[in-house]
Structure formats: structure tokens, C-alpha cells
């Protein structure tokens, strides 16, 4: 259902655009098109990026350091890290299990399952938070029982973590499924006929083959987990120092007109996004080499 998220471009080699005069526009049109595209990207991508860092440092480096080391900011960073530390591994385990079942076996209802897995991506972040309030909130299904037993989920870290898991749920699985599918079952079958157990086959054969995709899935899932705003905002209660993640901390600072402090905190997340993109770029080229090797290895007449 959701096919256009940034994921690996698995494409055959030797497709690098053959340059032929039949396939190119005249020089003027070409440069006009490039110009328009760059202008569009410049307005929508470069400008915000530049704005974040300029405003962050608008009051000097001292104010910047202060803004990101004050107690509330540190508490927000800690909670953000904790959330990612729980959400990412859980979604990695799920991603591996789901991709193994979906890519290596054929079963009835597979497409339906795939659609369900993608579901959280087409749900508004606000709704993603709302459903957990409906479950665990004071007037929610389990609300009274939770209050009775003194357990706090909503307006506390557990709900923040749950909402984050929901929002980032499909990200690892989506990276792994196409890669595992493309690699087929041959190598695993070979390992099994050579006497390897299922666990050894996975560890020694499957895992090394999906490592790039897994790594990217983890990085992407992590970036989204640390940056989630809408869903977390609904369930957090915005208690400073306790239930504020970094994005929520930014919101509060901004609404209180502490612009440079807000942008200082925002610059940390922007940096994370840039690192994610660089990692993606690097992983993608590693992946490309591997795909080329695969295509050669899997025989000429495949």
C-alpha cells in the first residue's frame, strides 16, 4: 500500500543510462529543467535546513551550549534515547520475524498481512496516539483498572514508548522483505543440505546477506523514533523533565518564544536526520556492490 517511502533502490546493473542523442533534450531545455528542479528543492529543503542552524547559533555558541545542557533539555534527551532504545530493538525483532515468514515462504493471505503491516504508515500520528489514550487513558478501556492498581501508562513514559513503537512499526520489516525476497531461498537450502541447523543457517547465511538492509532499517527506525512528535504529543501530557521528549521540548520552548533555544534543540534532531541520510547514502553504495556481486553469482541465465 505504501510503496514510496525511501528504501533501497534495487535495480539491475548495466542500466546506467545509456547516453544517446535520441534520449536527451536540447541543452537549453535540459538546463531549464535542472534549474527549476534545483530551485524547488532549494526552497523546500535547503532553506529550512539553513534556517535551523542559523537560528540555533543566532545568540552565540555559549547560549547554544546552555540551551542543550540545561536540566529539562537533558531530561528530554534521556527520555528520547530511552524510547528509541526500547522501540528500535523490538521493531528489529519483529522485522526479522516478519520478513523471514513473508519472504521465505508462500502462504495464503500474505498480501493482506503486508497491507496490515504497512497500516501504521497511513494512520495520522494523532490517531496513533489517540488509540492508546482510548485503551489506557483515565476514561479508556483499561483506565479504571490501571488507576486502581496505581499503574501509570498515559502521561508517562510507557505510553510514549508504545506510541513510538506503533509509529515506527513497519520500518525495519519494509527494508528487509524486498531484500530477502530478491535473494531467494537457494543459499539457505544449500546450507541445510550441508547439515546446518535452522539457527546456524540464519546466523551464518541469511544475516550476512541482509546486513546492509538491516542496518539501514535500524538507522531509519531510530531517526523516526527519536523524532516522533504527533503521536507522542497526544499521550505524553507534556510534563517538563518527566514526560517530555526532545521534539516536545522543542515545542514548549518555541511556544514560549525561546526561539534560539528551540532551534538549538532542533539542530540536534536535524543533525540526526543528516547523519541518517549520509548513512543511507553509504549503505546504498555498499548494497549496490553486493547486488552486482549477487547478479554475477546467481548465474548468467537466471
Amino acid at each position: 500500500m505504501v510503496g514510496g517511502l525511501p528504501s533501497f533502490k534495487i535495480r539491475p546493473i548495466a542500466q546506467q543510462s545509456r547516453s544517446s542523442h535520441l534520449r536527451t533534450e536540447s541543452g537549453v531545455i535540459k538546463w531549464i529543467l535542472i534549474g527549476v528542479a534545483l530551485l524547488y528543492l532549494g526552497i523546500f529543503l535547503i532553506l529550512p535546513l539553513a534556517c535551523i542552524f542559523t537560528t540555533a547559533f543566532s545568540k552565540g555558541i555559549v547560549a547554544y551550549t546552555q540551551a542543550i545542557t540545561e536540566p529539562d533539555a537533558l531530561a528530554a534527551i534521556r527520555l528520547t534515547l530511552l524510547t528509541a532504545l526500547i522501540a528500535v530493538p523490538l521493531n528489529v525483532i519483529f522485522g526479522i520475524a516478519a520478513s523471514w515468514a513473508i519472504a521465505k515462504f508462500d502462504f495464503i493471505g500474505k498480501n493482506f498481512l503486508l497491507t496490515l503491516i504497512d497500516l501504521p504508515l497511513s494512520v495520522s500520528p494523532v490517531i496513533s496516539g489517540l488509540i492508546f489514550v482510548l485503551l489506557f487513558g483515565a476514561q479508556g478501556t483499561f483506565g479504571p483498572w490501571l488507576i486502581e492498581h496505581g499503574i501509570k501508562i498515559i502521561f508517562a513514559p510507557p505510553a510514549i514508548i508504545l506510541a513510538t513503537i506503533f509509529v515506527t512499526f513497519p520500518l525495519v520489516a519494509r527494508e528487509l522483505i524486498p531484500i530477502m525476497k530478491a535473494q531467494g531461498n537457494d543459499e539457505e537450502e544449500a546450507a541445510i543440505t550441508l547439515g546446518a541447523s535452522g539457527f546456524k543457517t540464519f546466523m551464518l547465511v541469511t544475516l550476512p546477506n541482509i546486513k546492509w538492509g538491516l542496518l539501514y532499517g535500524v538507522i531509519l527506525c531510530n531517526a523516526r523514533a527519536m523524532g516522533e512528535f504527533g503521536a507522542v504529543s497526544v499521550v505524553s501530557g507534556h510534563i517538563r523533565g518527566l514526560t517530555n521528549t526532545l521534539p516536545l521540548h522543542i515545542e514548549i520552548l518555541y511556544n514560549e518564544y525561546h526561539f534560539s533555544a528551540a532551534f538549538a534543540a532542533a539542530s540536534l534532531l536535524a543533525l540526526l536526520a543528516i547523519v541518517t541520510l549520509i548513512a543511507k547514502s553509504i549503505i546504498e553504495s555498499g548494497m549496490h556492490r553486493e547486488i552486482e556481486a549477487t547478479q554475477i553469482t546467481s548465474g548468467e541465465k537466471r
Binding site: E187, P208, A293, E300
Partner: protein, 338 residues
């Protein structure tokens, strides 16, 4: 180890991939499973390896029911059509894999593994590629490494799925002869799948011809070629010409019959030889090759393929559009309408 296939059936949805097959492969034999794609030969091979499970029937390894054993404990060497070499491992690690994944108690030492891998590399004549990765090898080399990897665990049975399927014609020919000699040296029970009749005829001790999930014939290459058990086998193992005729045999007199004759078993002459001779016009002559191949057409529109020796061709001084007579020298197969 002998392999016995008993009443085996495998159904995919409503398609019978294997339909009640019985087959016995004796210890040390080199057997070809020959058939067109979709005939069930690869499925049969995969069931023997334990890579698929049969719906009915069973497989006996030296008389013992194989269903008792998991795939990984079958001690079967399987060589995949596209080799399935582990792409992230060197050639050495690929061959050593089967030994390294053995349970700790029976796992040989690294020293021993190293010796064994080098032994195998020597056997497949590729000692110098030890440290390379699969993608750095040619197709033929990969094929041999895949074989060495399968042999590392000392399997009792070797199964090969289209072993030469993805190779160039030249490499294919070389590897075929190499596999034949290789089997003569090792004498391991081997079963290979192929759709190429020439390959089966040249390499195998015994050929199992399969069609639509059933076995059409089991026999030596000579038997299946010269004494086909069905029209399918006849057609699959080479070109054939069809004659509609009245049989001369007194016992089955005057019943319409179809006679099948291979191109090289047709005599060409300027004058009719006997009552079976058919008058034809030569429509095409290709003298390139060890024999001369010709197409001929009779007055009632039947087309025949004829193959004669270069000497005969020169002696007859044939040219295109010549009128000649074709006479069957030997009938490969005949069908009677009863």
C-alpha cells in the same frame, strides 16, 4: 547408497507435479532425469534431497525410510542450478561450511578442515581460487566449487539440478566429460536433472525420461534412443519422421500404422528400393557439419528430415530440388491402430 522411490506423488494446488512414481537407483550409478520443463524432474530431485515433502509415497535410502530423517541429516550432496554459493564467503569458507556447522562433538579440527578443503580443491582442479569470492569466478569454476562444497561432507548421494544449465555451450561440453570421468573415479551414487537429451545420452549410465509427472521410460542411453517405449521418448530424444503406411507384416495385415524413423535411418536413392520407398523433392540441403542434413517434401505435402554421410552425399551428387526416393532402413518405433 541406493535410492528407491516408491509410489511418490506431489501435488501443487491442482497440478500433479509428480504422479505415482516408482524408481530405483543402484549404488554407484550415474542417472539422468531427463524431461521438458514442468515434467516434475526437479521436484523429484528436491523431494529426494528433502527440500520438498511428498504428498504420498516415500523414499528409501539403502532400504531405510528417508522421511525419518530431516533434510540436514540426510547426508545428501545437492548442487543447485544456480550454484547457491554463499556470496559473502570465500571459496575456502564455502567448501568448509558443511564441516564447520557439524555439532561440536563430531566437528573436525580446523587443521583437518583445511586439509580436506585443499584436497577437494585439488579434486576439482581449482587449487588457486581458495581465497577468492564466488563473484570473482567464471560460471564453470563456480559449478565445480559448488560440487566440491557438496562433496565436503562426504555425502552418500550426489544430486545435481541442471548442473550445466547456466553455462556457455563450450564450457558445458567440457564439464560434461569432466563429470563423467569424475564419477568414474569416485563412484558415488549420483542423480542429475537435465532437459538436454544430448547431455543425458553422453553422461549418464541410465536415463529416466519424465513427462507430466510420470516416468515414460527407464533405460540405458542406447535403449532409450534406439528402443523408445513411447512416442514422447522417441520425439524427445531426437528428430524423427512419421510414415503413414500399410504394414507389410502378414500377422497384422492391412491395418493402418504409423512408423517413426530417425533422420539417419532413411536411405536416399535415385530409384525406388522397395514398396516402402517414398518419392520426395529435396527442399533444403545443409552440408556443413559431420553429416549432411536435408529437408524433403513428398507430393502429398509431408515433410521429412534426412541425415546422410558426407560420402553418400558426394556419391549421389545431390542438389536442391532433386527428385529422390526415401526408404526407411530401420523403424525406431511403430504404432498400430487397433
Amino acid at each position: 547408497m541406493s535410492i528407491e522411490v516408491k509410489n511418490l506423488t506431489k501435488i501443487f494446488g491442482n497440478f500433479k507435479a509428480i504422479d505415482n512414481i516408482n524408481l530405483k537407483v543402484e549404488t554407484g550409478e550415474l542417472v539422468a532425469l531427463l524431461g521438458p520443463s514442468g515434467s516434475g524432474k526437479t521436484t523429484l530431485l528436491r523431494i529426494i534431497a528433502g527440500l520438498e515433502t511428498a504428498d504420498e509415497g516415500n523414499i528409501l535410502f539403502s532400504g531405510e525410510d528417508a522421511r525419518e530423517r530431516k533434510t540436514k541429516d540426510r547426508n545428501v550432496g545437492f548442487v543447485f542450478q544456480h550454484y547457491a554459493l554463499f556470496r559473502h564467503m570465500t571459496v575456502f569458507d564455502n567448501i568448509a561450511f558443511g564441516l564447520r556447522v557439524k555439532p561440536k562433538k563430531i566437528r573436525p579440527s580446523e587443521d583437518h578442515i583445511g586439509r580436506r578443503v585443499r584436497e577437494l580443491l585439488k579434486l576439482v582442479q581449482l587449487e588457486w581460487v581458495e581465497k577468492r569470492y564466488p563473484w570473482q569466478l567464471s560460471g564453470g569454476q563456480r559449478q565445480r566449487i559448488a560440487l566440491a562444497r557438496a562433496l565436503a561432507v562426504e555425502p552418500k548421494v550426489l544430486l545435481l539440478d541442471e548442473p550445466f544449465g547456466s553455462l556457455d555451450a563450450q564450457v558445458r561440453k567440457e564439464l560434461r566429460q569432466w563429470l563423467r570421468r569424475f564419477h568414474d573415479d569416485l563412484h558415488i551414487t549420483s542423480l542429475f536433472v537435465t532437459h538436454d537429451q544430448e547431455e543425458a545420452l553422453e553422461v549418464a549410465d541410465k536415463i529416466v525420461v519424465m513427462n507430466s509427472g510420470k516416468i515414460e521410460q527407464i533405460g540405458t542411453p542406447e535403449e532409450v534412443y534406439h528402443k523408445p517405449a513411447s512416442v514422447f521418448v522417441l520425439n524427445f530424444l531426437g528428430n524423427v519422421n512419421l510414415f503413414h503406411s500399410r504394414t507389410e507384416a502378414a500377422t497384422i495385415s492391412s491395418k493402418a500404422a504409423k512408423l517413426y524413423v530417425r533422420p539417419h535411418q532413411l536411405g536416399v536413392s535415385r530409384l525406388p528400393v522397395d514398396g516402402n520407398s517414398v518419392k520426395v523433392v529435396l527442399t533444403f540441403i545443409n552440408p556443413a557439419g559431420s553429416s549432411v542434413k536435408m529437408d524433403a517434401k513428398s507430393s502429398d505435402g509431408n515433410v521429412f528430415q534426412v541425415e546422410i554421410s558426407q560420402e553418400e552425399y558426394k556419391a549421389l551428387k545431390l542438389i536442391k530440388n532433386d527428385e529422390v526416393f526415401l526408404t526407411p532402413k530401420n523403424i525406431t518405433y511403430s504404432e498400430y491402430e487397433i
